[in-house]
Amino acid sequence: MGKTGLKLIDENGIRIDGRKPDQLRPISMDVGVLKNAQGSALVSYGKTTVLAAVYGPREALPRHMTLPDRAILRVRYHMAPFSTTERKSPAPTRREVELSKVIRESLEASVFTELYPRTTIDIFIEVLQADGGTRTTSLTAASMALADAGIPMKDLIAGVAVGKVNGKLVLDINEAEDSGGEADMPVAMMPNLGKIVLLQLNGTLTRDEFKEAMKMSIKAIKEIYLIQKQTLRDKYAKMTEEEKEE
């Protein structure tokens, strides 16, 4: 039984949304969805849907914020008022300010900011629908939007959350499992380089559970990474095909 007394996983190990413990939700991705932004991406993990837009590098205003040796990243993580079951006030909450910082620090590990001193790269992340795992979905979307904008970076970032419900580790948790479970661990990586850029843990896991959870997330991140790459490649392949048809 979870914290709320809900049964989140049945005798056969099937979760409330019918998935196996190590199964991802259906993932869909698209890049270049916004015309005005330099780069953009729309990513969904199941019902969680996130839109990311990148502007820049551009002149930073106010100017005193700029750094003489590198670009600054400004990240706004925001949940739309209609993203949750009950209306969320559009004003930035403490949680959103914190997540903006966490996401920014993860992205800073991959972006070559030193190529554009005295400028800013603005990243806007809008959660259109929230159903657990918004921060990892946001990171995945933001990194694809950055690639779409042509901003040099070490590697794409892909993320996924592992949770523990009814004493069992489950991959890519949704809202019910997040609030009813015993632990929630978002992980984000630069998969090709094998570097972790985000690791948080809410709740308790034993050492063995932690190791197992890491293994599960790394495997899932590699799957997500493949979809990311395919989506970016497809954009250019599609443009080439359209050209030929004309």
């Binding site: 551009r58 554009y116 690639a147 070490k154 050209e243």
Partner: protein
């Protein structure tokens, strides 16, 4: 050891080579003895040398670049110029035909106003200061005739450095003069309005990620076809 082939599309984090690699691209980075791409781009291999042309990139000014700028503000002794880059250009009075002593806001405004397009040269840029531009030199100055368009940064670098012949062909076919600025803006002038529009159409046609596969004869055929259509409509 190379892991890519001619005209492969690479993504950030893709392994390009291991061991020794010759490249001048700032978009290839090294970790240990492995070379990775940092952008979405196209690789061109030429006898062990690698060139990586990014699909999108921001224009970073370099001295002696020719740029097409847009005046955005008039200061007491200089103009601020948008040069399609993260850095705003500055055109000081001393770098124009005006004399320093004539510099008043009135004379400056009369000489170049907000919204004017100008062809300029970058004379200095060192990342700590904004790029300094100059109007002194052959062909530089205010753009008074023709049209200016913006194309993708990738197409611009290909047109500038590898496929100048494409630009020359379009210019010849349409009887216009085409100037490709380093900052991905193109100035088309000299022809009748119809021919200028045809040149723009042809430039837009080649402005795709797949432009390397467009041959000169394709573009000649395209222009002739479009021209025939338009002459018929008007005639």
């Amino acid at each position: 050891m190379l892991y890519v082939q001619q005209r492969d599309i690479v993504l950030p984090g893709d392994l390009i080579a291991e061991g020794k690699l010759e490249t001048t691209s700032i978009y290839v980075y090294k970790e240990g003895n492995r070379y990775y791409s940092s952008v979405v781009g196209m690789v061109e291999v030429k006898d062990d040398k690698i060139a990586l042309t990014p699909m999108e990139h921001a224009y970073i000014p370099r001295p002696n670049d020719m740029v097409i700028g847009l005046i955005t503000d008039v200061g007491p002794t200089y103009w601020e110029v948008d040069i399609n880059s993260p850095y705003e250009g500055q055109l000081p009075v001393g770098e124009t035909i005006l004399r320093q002593t004539q510099a008043t806001v009135d004379t400056l405004r009369k000489f170049l106003g907000i919204g004017d397009q100008v062809l300029l040269k970058v004379i200095a840029f060192d990342r700590l200061k904004d790029p300094v531009l100059s109007m002194r030199g052959k062909g530089l100055g205010k753009i008074t005739v023709g049209k200016v368009i913006e194309i993708s940064s990738m197409t611009a670098s290909i047109l500038l450095f590898r496929k100048r012949s494409l630009v020359e062909t379009i210019a010849k076919e349409t009887g216009t003069a085409i100037f490709v600025g380093n900052n991905a803006r193109i100035w088309i002038s000299g022809g009748e309005p119809l021919m200028e529009d045809l040149a723009i159409l042809a430039l837009k046609k080649i402005d795709t990620p797949d432009m390397s596969s467009i041959s000169i004869s394709d573009i000649v055929d395209y222009i002739r076809e479009e021209k025939a259509k338009r002459v018929k409509q008007n005639g």
